[in-house]
Symmetry: C2
DNA sequence: GGCCCAGGGCTACGGTGTAGACGTTAGACG
DNA sequence: CGTCTAACGTCTACACCGTAGCCCTGGGCC
């Protein structure tokens, strides 16, 4: 051990400095970067250690597990979803259909964030399944709490609000899943059928899908989200009036 | 066909008789069994080989990849979703709101199948993200094609049908994800707050969620699905009338 | 001073997916 | 009949994975 050649030092002068010490946030940010750039399967303890210029095992000081690491990433992204400004006192004014606009904004924010971290979407949607709701990282529950608030302020009772909130987040999940599936197959092909790869589908089994080539080609995520919102909000509104 | 009693002695180092040769379906069935019983993370090439009493490498003759294996499993479960009886000629009769009932049935079937393979749900929801729609295993597209059929017969135009089908499957995804999250934490505790683990949540941050303990405790999946359907169908119906 | 202990480094272990070469056989075809 | 071929199964080997366990170090505490 006398040989303290300090390994891949390559840093500044050997003598003094200990490096400034990692924080959980740095770890999570680096991990998220890897996922964003190269996909979930590229997120490896060794690669993450490399990105942090630390020994892979150092990570375990800030995340007990790889599972915990993934939870942390999701939680960090979930933080991008919480609305920064609590519209507290506008309840008196036009609180009439304000809740619908609030939901529209929430939906578009969710869409934007999800698309900005599209590689993370599988985790975002799937992590909640790893355990009962109340044991999930608190940060991931905050957006849901905010939704509940919106619905209750809109006039739903407890049961209705819980239900509406579930319906709404389910809708959001569904939307991004579908939108991410719309990746074009061969962008240089002119014919819609070919460009989307729909020619692969047997005509007899998939008459409907094949005939939708034009619609599929003209996909517009934001518009689709809005249309879905219109339908969903109509349903919720009718529920509220009874 | 599942009966594999054909195995002669199941031993005899290399006695003589050749075993009846594997089929892709057998491989997928065995894989699905492992997933159902022990979770996705337990599905390992070696373990699957063991379950099939074959060398792990034999699997690669029937699935090019582990990815392909997973796709195959999902496809097999998707086959449980296709409605066996095509109601062809009842189009004349009471085609009025028949489509709503059809959707209700579809939804409950989906729920039943998803809960029967709850360990597979993450894959079911997530696999579609692994590539463009038209490149997915055909079997997984069939339920979608059937949905399109329903909506078009109900009177939606191409665009509307595509949209409605996406909305509907997104709703189904969302529902099962939420339902699976309702696993009770400590079933022997009498107080709802404690039993659900909600006491973990800081009161100041989660007033709404905590106050919903009773509702959360009384969760009924089928009922929730029906309520969601009511809302969603109301929205779709109003869309159809315009 | 003495102590503690959080943060980081290193090695090592058991497990993973799968490439590649090799055997064996059932059936096609002359 | 013999020969060829393609499918199926086996084995070995490799690179990589998550992480248990132990050590060292330095700054804050009494």
């Amino acid at each position: 051990m006398t040989d303290a050649s300090a390994k891949p030092g390559s840093l500044g002068p050997q003598s003094s400095g200990r490096r400034p010490a990692l924080t959980r946030e740095q770890v999570l940010t680096a991990a998220l970067k890897i996922v964003d750039e190269s996909g979930v399967e590229a997120l490896t303890m060794r690669r993450l250690g490399q990105a942090l210029d630390r020994n892979p095992m150092a990570i375990y000081r800030h995340a007990s597990d790889k599972e915990d690491l993934l939870d942390g990433i999701v939680e960090q992204v979930a933080a991008e979803l919480v609305t920064p400004s609590p519209p507290e006192h506008d309840r008196d004014g036009g609180g009439d259909d304000g809740w619908e606009n609030a939901l529209r904004r929430t939906a578009h924010t969710f869409r934007r964030v999800a698309l900005a971290h599209s590689n993370l979407v599988p985790l975002l949607v799937t992590r909640p399944l790893s355990g009962p709701l109340a044991l999930r990282p608190l940060g991931t529950l905050l957006p849901f709490e905010e939704l509940l608030e919106v619905f209750i302020n809109a006039g739903f009772d407890n049961h209705g609000a819980l239900h509406a909130a579930r319906l709404f987040t389910g809708f959001l999940y569904g939307h991004v899943i579908h939108e991410l599936q719309e990746r074009v197959h061969a962008p240089d092909e002119t014919d819609d059928l070919l460009r989307l790869g729909l020619h692969r589908l047997p005509v007899t089994q998939f008459p409907r899908l094949r005939s939708l080539a034009a619609e599929l080609a003209a996909y517009d995520g934001a518009a689709e989200l809005d249309e879905g919102l219109t339908i969903l909000l109509a349903g919720l509104r009718s529920q509220l009036l009874t």
